[in-house]
Symmetry: C2
Subunit: 342 residues, 2 copies
Amino acid sequence: MSMVMTARKEQILTALIEEYIRTGEPVGSKWLMDKMDNTVSSATIRNEMADLAAMGFLDQPHTSAGRVPTPQAFRLYVDKLMKKRKLPENTRRYIDERLERATDPDVLMEEASQILTETTGCAAVTTTPQEQQMLVRRIEVMVVSSHVVAMMLMTGSGVLRSRVCRLPLPVTAAELTEAVNLLNENFVGKPLSTVTLPAVQGLLLQLGDSALVCAPLLTAFHELAQTCAEAEIRLKGQLNLLRSPDYHPDSARNLLGFLNEQEQLGRMLSGHTGGLRVVLGNESLQPELQGSSIIVTRYAPRNIHGSIGLIGPLRMDYATAIAELEYITQTVERILGQLIEE
Amino acid sequence: MSMVMTARKEQILTALIEEYIRTGEPVGSKWLMDKMDNTVSSATIRNEMADLAAMGFLDQPHTSAGRVPTPQAFRLYVDKLMKKRKLPENTRRYIDERLERATDPDVLMEEASQILTETTGCAAVTTTPQEQQMLVRRIEVMVVSSHVVAMMLMTGSGVLRSRVCRLPLPVTAAELTEAVNLLNENFVGKPLSTVTLPAVQGLLLQLGDSALVCAPLLTAFHELAQTCAEAEIRLKGQLNLLRSPDYHPDSARNLLGFLNEQEQLGRMLSGHTGGLRVVLGNESLQPELQGSSIIVTRYAPRNIHGSIGLIGPLRMDYATAIAELEYITQTVERILGQLIEE
DNA sequence: TTTTAGCACTCTCTCTTTTGGAGTGCTAAC
DNA sequence: GTTAGCACTCCAAAAGAGAGAGTGCTAAAA
């Protein structure tokens, strides 16, 4: 018995993992023998499998069943064994076409996650683009009625958020434009982080008579700035996870429950520096993620950035999923670059 | 054997249905005897149950099991047997407080469905308010960059939608205001239905030199009007359906798949005139809805309207769900009235 | 005429037992 | 180092055995 990895061991392990990914069933020595065109006997393969098991890459559900890859094996597969796939040309074109239709960052990300869920059979998460220094680009209001106004805020990266604000007293158009001009003068071009509650309330003094009327407007502006500063996290394709036979109904429910908690998801996506990262279930601290794995990439054209992630069962088709995710990330990056440049 | 409904039969049927709703298990004659304080023997109850079965209200999974209510029994229960419950005072206050925080129709409906999912354990759907004659209240644009503008449209009922629009050529502020003024002059106060593509493109001629630059702006406006005209349908609490033991994992998946198709949901909610309607699974034509039932109400303060619906297993706690839904509908109606009046 | 007690009967659910098969581990020969 | 052969292990599906819950029916009681 040798505990050293050889080319043949890798070959066997790769074939085993890929078959396991395909069927979800333990793989036996006889099947592997066929797969390798009978160049070696099943007994030899059994010996190799015994080695691989001793090395921690294989597990067996019970004494007389085939072997199943361990998380460690998946790790090796993702890092080394798997041969990267390239998306076929027509798939790439299809993705390009769908994404190029997007007119603003929000719908771009929406569409990106939609495509991912459709093609990979996983759930997808995306965050809307964030800037390191998120700047206020423009503030606008719109009168709804004497007591109600709508306020809109656009950031440097083109994210637009709106909010309706109820006023206790009727407001005149003049008062409103005065307040809005004041906000624009003070905050346009400044980072969102400067829109603190004290900073906003400090402006009340400069409003003179209309201060009383416009006070709610200012706090509404502050709240609006907050929602702009937070990345919006969008989860799609939850149904895909239910479709997978790998999840026990209960654990699927737990997983979905976990994914629906925004903060949790946010924490999961954040904190990675770039490139593609694959986190296998066992490597995560979250008990809900044990049976799953997560692939995250970061898109970052210029000074803005965000994340795209895929969540699926441990036994997912990594080669395809990664190819898909990488191409989409790259395309999102390109289009986002165009969107903010123009 | 008499096939006529008597007070005692109703009493037995009611008790049986409520117990079945509570436990999901077939109910036997002995349990019912206890429930009726032993005023009659189990044999008598068996006789009555045999009658009720002959009348089509009861079913038995197999010869020697207790009885289970048929869909027809649920129908009778909802229409006649069930005694309407009133929400306790503190629950009402809780709902009031949460809904009164809403500042615009969108978040109001969002919050309403959230509350419903939390308290009833069902999934909830809501549509954003629609008007019979949805009017354009105001159009506004915001410059993002030389090639990109954001356009916003507010309707009479305070629904605000925005869209980013990419222009092929750089646009000047003057051209932009001209185009927006033109749109405002022509459409403010008019029904959204008048914003047809020909009507919008007809304005191009009046734009003179800037027609070429602003053309995309006009079609964007048309598309924006479309999205305003369509009710936005929001589904919440899908996880609740998974939690219910009544659904076979597969059928739950089918149901969720169905509910996630916007158009389907829309059709399901629309087409009722008012008041509260309960559609039991078997009464629906959709195969996916067989095991479920749906409770829909309509809110309609003044000339706007929309729907709120609950979706749960056939075996749901109708008394509570209906009380909850009615109170929320009524509260939404009240607050929505305030929102558009002020 | 309605209600009740009594009892045989039916069907499911659970627990065991059986059996077939797939796959391994080991040994000895190549 | 590789292979054939074979005993062994363990699961999974099928088959069987009780136990229990609940009914339907009949005949007596109210």
